[in-house]
């Protein structure tokens, strides 16, 4: 139907338009969460690096999922194969947002009982979030790349349609690169605003992040019920 070259451009365009028209709406709270969290832990010295690493992680996942889709040639079968990972990612995203939200509010420091009584996943997430290295946003992006998303599903349907491992991978990477400008600009904007309105933004953001984390968990359970 389309020439391969134009398909790559189409996928980039789909990601670019979807970034502004879809990703900011669906993943905006998640980006705002880690932007505020990075602000509260890193300060201003690493304004862009967390976003670049997060998006690189996301695209890494897209490339592997796209390759898998292309290799199998069947979106439905491949999607069923990674459904468990996606459910795990969706619930983990909610947990991460709650931990970040409580962290931004400054509540988490006094809640060591969570650590004592929480599962391995929460302890692992907390350890990664409390790490001082900006590189922690790369594995975070890898995990969040698995988030169930209607827009990325459309890209993976195209990757499966390619019926070729490398082409499926390349198409998904083009799509992922297309989504970067919107999420990058959004994340930087949130961070800039949070610098200017530090106290009020932190309090409002922390509460909203925590509530949205609960909503993410509820949503992933409700949709799969």
């Amino acid at each position: 139907m389309f020439h391969t070259d134009s398909l790559y451009i189409l996928m980039f365009g789909s990601g670019f338009l979807g970034g502004f028209g879809h990703c900011i709406g669906m993943c905006g709270p998640l980006v705002a969460s880690y932007a505020l969290h990075a602000q509260s832990t890193d300060g201003r010295r690493t304004a862009v690096l967390p976003h670049i690493l997060y998006n690189t992680g996301r695209i890494t996942t897209y490339s592997f999922v796209g390759a898998f889709m292309g290799f199998t040639g069947s979106f439905v079968n491949a999607a069923a194969g990674i459904a468990g990972i996606q459910d795990f990612a969706a619930i983990t995203a909610g947990i991460i947002m709650i931990i970040m939200g409580l962290g931004v509010l400054g509540v988490l420091k006094g809640m060591n009982f969570i650590e004592r009584h929480s599962g391995t996943v929460i302890r692992a997430v907390k350890a990664v979030l409390e790490s001082e290295s900006s590189w922690r946003y790369y594995p975070f992006g890898i995990l969040m790349g698995f988030l169930p998303c209607g827009l990325s599903y459309s890209a993976f349907i195209a990757a499966a349609g390619a019926s070729d491992l490398l082409q499926g991978m390349a198409l998904s990477v083009c799509f992922g690169l297309g989504t970067v400008p919107a999420l990058l600009l959004f994340g930087i904007a949130v961070k800039r605003i949070s610098v200017r309105f530090r106290e009020r933004m932190y309090k409002a953001g922390g509460i909203m992040i925590t509530l949205m984390g609960l909503y993410f968990i509820w949503r992933s359970i409700a949709v799969n019920a």
């Binding site: 139907m1 900011i24 709406g25 439905v76 998303c149 209607g150 349907i157 195209a158 009020r200 949503r219």
Partner: protein, 143 residues
């Protein structure tokens, strides 16, 4: 004070968007086709377009067969675009190949939206008529 209010609106809108409040959602984006009970028909000028999706009920994340019957026009193939009213869902096009005089068939998938929204739109573009000549079928899907 105005900046504080704008900031408050920005934060609230960012966090409410995933709940299904889309700025593009419109009142006319209501189901106009009960696809689970059978084919739906639209008329564009002198052309009649009939859409059928099987198996029923139409479920997300399943391979679906799309059949379009086109009366009053003819083409080698048709393009069907799957999207969600009020939310950009990327390029998800199904190529429908001619199987009989006025029948076109193809396979596609309607992805699952984590927001839980079930309203989808299938747009059939009429051949050689530009983007203005299209038939939108808005229907609910099952999870």
């Amino acid at each position: 004070m105005k900046i504080k209010f704008l900031l408050f609106c920005f934060i609230i809108s960012v966090f409410l968007l995933p709940c299904g409040f889309s700025p593009h959602a419109a009142a006319q984006d209501m189901p106009d086709c009960n696809i689970d009970s059978g084919p739906c028909t639209k008329r564009i000028g002198a052309s009649e377009i009939i859409l059928d999706i099987t198996p029923r009920p139409v479920k997300v994340m399943k391979e679906l067969s799309f059949t379009v019957t086109l009366r009053g026009k003819t083409a080698d193939r048709l393009i069907l675009d799957l999207g969600m009213p009020g939310m950009y869902m990327g390029k998800n096009k199904v190529v429908l190949k001619k199987t009989a005089d006025d029948t076109y068939k193809g396979k596609g998938v309607i992805p699952k939206c984590p927001s839980g929204r079930k309203l989808w739109r299938a747009t059939v573009y009429l051949p050689d008529a530009g983007n203005n000549k299209k038939a939108d079928f808005i229907f609910n899907v099952s999870y």
